[in-house]
């Protein structure tokens, strides 16, 4: 016991930017704990126990360099966050657990393979197949492209503080791990391409969604794409950009999910168009949200601008890179600005006295804890945006870095003009609200597609499909095998002489091969 404790303590490494990331993780968890104080009503005690377990194990994941404790910590994170989803729905718990467990199985395989190939500690891994294996393992847990399918449904259905934890920090753990294993000089092209695909696809999906939480979940995938892209690029400034983006996006997304919870309670809806006049009804929340959205959209002087500028500057300079990054930035700016556009609108009819009075009262009494959480998030964004070198001085060389604020200002103004033009002419991209996302609906869409190849579309009961089709397919297949192997009792006994004959003739059979 003493030995493992010593080993555990000595496996912590306090160098490079990982302590900084750990501190940010603690702050973000405290923010969500503050926000949950009034949001979570039942079994509050267990919620905070789970938060505590999550906090400790996420610290282990970030700081340790031992494979065993790393996976141990990560599985604990999985377990804690899985049970946090129970405050919303047990179905989510099941789905999330299956997905996370299959991801961690691949990761376990990858980690032990790395261990067997001589990488005794977590550190830069030079072998490309091993990198690929570990990226696949991370992919399921942290929502890399094509494996992100579970992320929007689950992050949008979770309770607001849990969404904040999941989207703000849990998915980042994978990228923090990638920061450790991808060699700084080379990067990884595969990861770069995945990141690019994520930014474009998820950005487009975020623009297409009318539900605030789904939009936030897609924007998480999109911003994670920037991190993946940065790590895939390789190089000092790209990694600094990734670290900065992890921190900036962590603060922004946590704040946004907390404020989405408050808006949801205020308006009783999650649709963006319903948040009319939020700026005067929920001033603090809206101010924090605007700050975070500006950071997401990489407006100049915000945290998001600094990190995205670093990522951009690490690429090979050229007209193509400039254009592509300009467009990618515009995509983020559009979906962030759309929310701001709708919260400023005040087109309700308050002419009669009663509705005026109704309007005067808020439906949700904001609590001090909520305000504190929001203020912490906003402060975090401000700190990152004005002192990117950070208090601890690990990113010290960023203090002298020229961020080309003038060109950033120019870009932001162009974005603003374009966005204003598009919004005014297209009625703020008001689109039809889609159905709630869920993994069952995905399954249904897939099945409809398959059936539609042969006939017209059929309406399925997805609940039943999940139980009847998915499980029954597996069970019937294994039942067939079972019936094949399980024959009559005499035939079962016949195995004994057969087996003995095989053993006795094994020399000859072996020689034959």
């Amino acid at each position: 016991m003493a030995v493992i404790w010593q080993q555990f303590l000595s496996s912590f490494q306090f160098d490079s930017y990982f302590p900084l990331l750990a501190e940010v993780g603690v702050i973000l968890t405290l923010m969500t704990a503050l926000a949950a104080w009034n949001y979570i009503k039942e079994n509050k005690f267990w919620y905070y126990i789970l938060t505590f377990v999550y906090l400790l194990s996420s610290l282990v994941v970030i700081l340790t360099n031992d494979w065993f404790f790393f996976l141990f910590g990560w599985e604990m994170v999985t377990l804690a966050t899985t049970f946090m989803l129970a405050w919303s729905d047990w179905k989510l718990v099941r789905q999330y657990f299956v997905i996370q467990f299959s991801g961690s199985s691949i990761l376990l395989f990858g980690a032990l393979a790395a261990n067997a190939f001589g990488y005794a500690k977590i550190g830069a891994i030079n072998s490309i197949p091993l990198q690929f294996l570990l990226i696949m393992g991370i992919g399921m847990k942290s929502g890399l492209f094509l494996f992100h399918f579970w992320l929007p449904p689950i992050h949008s259905e979770a309770p607001a503080p849990v969404s904040a934890i999941l989207s703000g920090w849990v998915v980042k753990l994978g990228y923090i791990f990638l920061l450790k294993i991808i060699p700084l000089e080379k990067g990884n092209t595969f990861l770069f391409l995945l990141g690019l695909a994520m930014v474009i696809y998820a950005g487009w999906q975020a623009l297409r969604s009318a539900d605030l939480k789904i939009m936030l979940a897609y924007s998480t995938v999109s911003q994670l794409g920037f991190i993946a892209l940065a790590i895939g690029t390789g190089g000092k400034y790209a990694f600094y950009g990734a670290v900065l983006h992890i921190i900036a996006h962590g603060f922004a997304k946590t704040t946004l999910f907390i404020s989405s919870g408050i808006w949801q309670k205020e308006y009783g809806s999650r649709i963006i168009y319903d948040f009319k006049d939020a700026i005067s009804r929920r001033p603090v929340t809206s101010a924090a949200a605007i700050m975070s959205l500006a950071s997401l959209g990489a407006v100049v002087f915000t945290a998001g601008y600094k990190s995205k500028y670093l990522i951009k500057s690490a690429q090979t300079p050229g007209i193509l890179v400039t254009t592509v990054f300009f467009l990618l930035g515009f995509l983020s700016f559009l979906y962030a600005a759309r929310v701001i556009y709708w919260i400023f609108i005040k087109d309700q009819d308050y002419s009669n006295f009663l509705s005026d009075l109704k309007h005067g009262f808020n439906h949700y009494q904001i609590y001090t804890a909520d305000v504190l959480a929001l203020i912490t998030g906003t402060l975090g964004i401000i700190v990152v945006s004005f002192w990117p070198e950070m208090p601890a001085g690990v990113l010290a060389s960023l203090a002298d870095k020229d961020f080309h604020l003038i060109s950033g200002l120019r870009d932001s103004l162009i974005y603003l003009a374009l966005a204003a033009y598009l919004f005014v002419n297209n009625n703020g991209f008001k689109i039809k609200v889609r159905d709630n996302l869920s993994l069952e609906n995905y399954l249904q869409a897939f099945l409809n597609f398959v059936y539609g190849l042969s006939r017209k579309s059929v309406k399925f009961d997805t609940e039943k499909i999940f139980e009847a089709f998915f499980y029954n397919a597996i069970f019937n297949a294994s039942k067939k095998l079972y019936n094949l192997v399980y024959q009559d009792f005499t035939i079962q006994l016949l195995w004994i002489p057969i087996f003995m004959t095989v053993l006795l003739l094994w020399q000859q059979i072996y020689a034959y091969f």
Binding site: F101, S105, N115, I474, S478, L503
Partner: protein, 510 residues
């Protein structure tokens, strides 16, 4: 000469023979007597560990007892090295917990039950401690017959059918084993394991092959590896829960011990390698594990499902041991320990959860979790350990098993480990979800439930039963955090498995 290891066998044997006489005096006294027997057994184990703590630490632990004072090549001797000590300790601990559970669970024919139970205890201790081939055969037959009787303990049609099937398979295996022992005796003229081991290489290769094949078939039947897995789920299903816990927690592990003892100490792994059988066995065990997990998917009966999953895990353990590396043994024995506690705990929990249901079927599992919430939570914790989630013991053992496979570059094995835990998620989650489903009882259901429930099976000491479930969960969590506690015993037992010459020298020369 240490008489304590003889008493390890004699105490349960004596308890078994005295129980009928105690019954004559007072039936209530029986329970205390049973407890006394198992406590005495635990005391013996603990005193052996404490008295020999220094030699355990320095790594030269060895105890021996000559029956009747006859020296090894001629007489029967009992020997205890580090491997047998580890197995004896965990077997005794498991037997201890299950006896207490049985006091709460078994409500009828208690006298017969405890006699059979203590015979199992004596036989498993004997099989672990003996250093004589014929003696091991005697204990194996004792295990077979007593456990066969316990499987048919419910006396229903199903139970009898399962017991007969079990007996046919296991008596056949016993016969084969006996044939092997005879062949050895006629060819080498000795029955002492160390003596056989010394001279086995001098035999003709044809006879070597024949003896190896016979022992292999016999022991694989007993363990339930692929071509012989048919008896296992059926008997696990119909036996009462504590018996199932013994079958899967103790018996299969004792057979694994005998497997290691015979194929490493007596016959020698080199013989297997020379006959190229190690590759066949490795792949066969992995295939068996694969089949076990697949069959578990289609099972509509929770106890059968656990039986199939046992097949999966035993196959995996056999495979990882067949790698014949230190890492393989480390992972294998750790997984033996963890699987012993997890599976016994699961069956114990099942016994509690299924007490009010009509059958063990999936549809009757509905609402079980709502009725007995805290036991169900313990059940879920044990299931999480089965699939290998930290901070439970299953994670540590899965880690070492997987590492052993990857170090030996056996990717099929690594795949089976991952595949096993992934399929386990699917088939366990189904039952967990069913357990939390609301029950809507119709009139007919109610009637059927009332009339079909065998009144005898209602637990009358519920607290004890649930307490043992929690105890297993606590063991799993505690050792999951402190699995390094097993580091010293595991290293000792690996040392004694790998170092056959030392064993021979100690048995014959000591």
């Amino acid at each position: 000469m240490d008489i304590k290891i003889l008493f390890l066998i004699l105490v349960p044997l004596g308890t078994a023979f005295l129980i009928p006489f105690i019954d004559l005096i007072n039936a209530k006294l029986r329970r205390f007597f049973v407890l006394l027997g198992i406590l005495l057994e635990s005391y013996l184990i603990i005193s052996i560990i404490i008295n020999n703590y220094q030699s355990l630490k320095s790594g030269d632990f060895f105890l021996q007892y000559y029956l009747g004072g006859w020296q090894p090549p001629i007489g029967i001797s009992l020997a205890m090295d580090a491997l047998s000590l580890v197995f004896a300790v965990i077997t005794a601990l498991s037997l201890f917990l299950i006896v207490i559970y049985s006091i709460g669970y078994i409500g009828h024919h208690e006298g017969k039950y405890y006699v059979l139970y203590f015979l199992i205890a004596a036989a498993s201790m004997g099989a672990i401690l003996t250093a004589d081939m014929f003696n091991i055969y005697v204990f194996i037959e004792m295990l077979t017959i007593t456990s066969g009787a316990l499987i048919g303990f419910k006396r229903s049609q199903e139970a009898s059918a399962a017991a007969i099937k079990y007996l046919i398979y296991n008596v056949l295996a016993g016969l084969l084993f006996f044939l092997g022992v005879l062949l050895i005796y006629f060819n080498l003229g000795t029955l002492n394991m160390a003596d056989i081991s010394q001279h086995f290489a001098s035999l003709e290769s044809g006879i070597q092959l024949f003896i190896t094949a016979i022992f292999l078939t016999a022991i694989l039947i007993k363990m339930g590896v692929f071509p012989f897995l048919f008896w296992l789920p059926k008997s696990y299903d119909t036996a009462p829960s504590p018996v199932t816990a013994v079958l899967s927690g103790v018996l299969s592990k004792v057979y694994l011990y005998i497997f290691i003892r015979i194929f490493w100490t007596v016959i020698g792994f080199k013989t297997l390698e020379a006959l190229n059988l190690n590759i066949l066995l490795l792949d066969l065990a992995l295939f068996s594990s694969f089949l076990g997990h697949l069959f578990a998917l289609q099972s509509d009966n929770i106890k059968r499902l656990l039986g199939y999953s046992s097949i999966g895990h035993i196959g995996m353990i056999t495979a990882v041991i067949m790698l014949n590396t230190e890492a393989g043994f480390y992972g294998g024995i750790l997984h033996i320990i963890s699987h012993m506690f997890m599976k016994a705990g699961l069956f114990v929990a099942c016994g509690y959860l299924l007490q009010y249901t009509r059958s063990h079927a999936y549809r009757d599992f509905k609402g079980v979790g709502i009725r007995n919430r805290s036991v169900f939570v313990a059940f879920i914790a044990l299931l999480l350990s089965m699939i290998g989630m930290p901070p439970l013991l299953g994670f540590a053992s899965k880690w070492y098993v997987l590492m052993a496979f990857l170090e030996a570059r056996s990717y099929f094995g690594a795949f089976i480990v991952i595949f096993g835990s992934l399929t386990a998620v699917i088939y366990y989650l189904r039952y967990i979800a069913k357990g939390f489903e609301e029950i809507k009882l119709t009139e007919d259901d109610l009637k059927e439930e009332i009339y079909s429930r065998p009144l005898l099976s209602v637990l009358y000491r519920e607290k004890i039963v649930s307490f043992i479930t929690y105890a297993y969960t606590a063991i799993i969590i505690g050792f999951g955090l402190g699995f390094r506690f097993f580091d010293l015993p595991l290293r000792m037992s690996i040392e004694s498995v790998m170092n056959v010459e030392r064993y021979i020298e100690l048995v014959l020369g000591g």
